[in-house]
């Protein structure tokens, strides 16, 4: 993607995000029970949707890396995995924060250890540990170990998604793909869909930037390793 295309995409995403903000704060109707605080929903749900998408990309890239780790494409897969993992943590953190800010006025508490919240917190911890493993380990095996952790870590994603269906929770029951009569008010659907699209597009754009950074880092590390080898060879002479 060249600079002009990237700038064009960034402008489109900014317009989409602004439109989503307008829909969420001005156009969508006020919810009868909770009032205006329910409008957090239009950022809370898209944040998690983007986080789960990123974790799914991280899983696919990790599997690809493990299968093809002795081929030239492995480094690109590793860059995709780490970029998606990092963005997943960012969006999951936003989901957790917006959730707590929503919970306090509605439930009277910032946090409760119910299955949905706990499984989400565990998911966040898993991917934070994934990033820490990658950042702190000096071993050449770190990408392989991280890829294995990513595969096991993803098991928590369907648990988070299904937790409000499997157990009785303080967290509201599903409004999307839920039981009959549990759906969202049709007037709220456009704001949700626009913000979902906006967050996914924004996530894709930042993912691309993060991927380019990771590839640049990989190239730099290769060049540094070659340079060190050259120096060692010259000293040996």
């Amino acid at each position: 993607m060249n600079r002009a295309v990237f700038t064009f995409c960034a402008i489109l995403v900014a317009i989409l995000l602004s439109y989503g903000l307008h829909e969420a704060l001005q156009v969508a109707p006020t919810e009868a029970t909770m009032g205006n605080i329910q409008r957090i929903f239009y950022y809370h749900v898209p944040s998690y949707a983007t986080a789960f998408t990123m974790f799914a990309i991280n899983l696919l890239a990790s599997v690809f890396y493990l299968v093809r780790r002795n081929t030239p494409s492995a480094q690109a897969a590793d860059a995709v995995a780490v970029s998606a993992g990092e963005l997943g943590v960012i969006f999951c953190s936003v989901g957790l924060m917006t959730g707590m800010l929503w919970a306090k006025p509605v439930w009277g508490i910032w946090w409760t250890w119910d299955p949905r919240l706990t499984s989400t917190f565990v998911l966040w911890l898993i991917y934070v540990s994934y990033l820490m493993l990658r950042r702190l380990s000096d071993s050449g095996q770190a990408p392989t170990l991280a890829a294995v952790l990513a595969i096991f870590g993803f098991v928590d994603v369907p648990i988070v998604y299904m937790s409000i269906r499997w157990w009785r929770t303080q967290h509201p029951q599903p409004v999307i793909f839920g039981e009959q009569g549990s759906g969202l008010d049709p007037a709220m659907v456009p704001a949700l869909l626009i913000n979902l699209a906006a967050f996914l597009c924004y996530g894709a754009l930042v993912f691309w930037v993060r991927y380019k950074l990771e590839r640049a880092r990989q190239e730099l590390h290769e060049a540094q390793a070659l340079h060190s080898l050259e120096l060692a060879r010259m000293e040996a002479r």
């Binding site: 205006n36 924004y202 880092r217």
Partner: protein, 44 residues
């Protein structure tokens, strides 16, 4: 429900979301600058 506090929480949630995202974008830009600087040092 305290309407004023609810509105405060709503605004904080929206502002915090974009503070986190903006912070991350700045972190990426700093990363690019560091890679560029180290590449130039290596070329010297």
């Amino acid at each position: 429900m305290d309407t004023v506090r609810s509105l405060q929480h709503l605004h904080i949630a929206y502002i915090l979301t974009w503070c986190v995202q903006l912070g991350y974008v700045i972190y990426l830009l700093v990363g690019f600058a560091r890679v560029k600087r180290e590449s130039e040092e290596l070329k010297k």
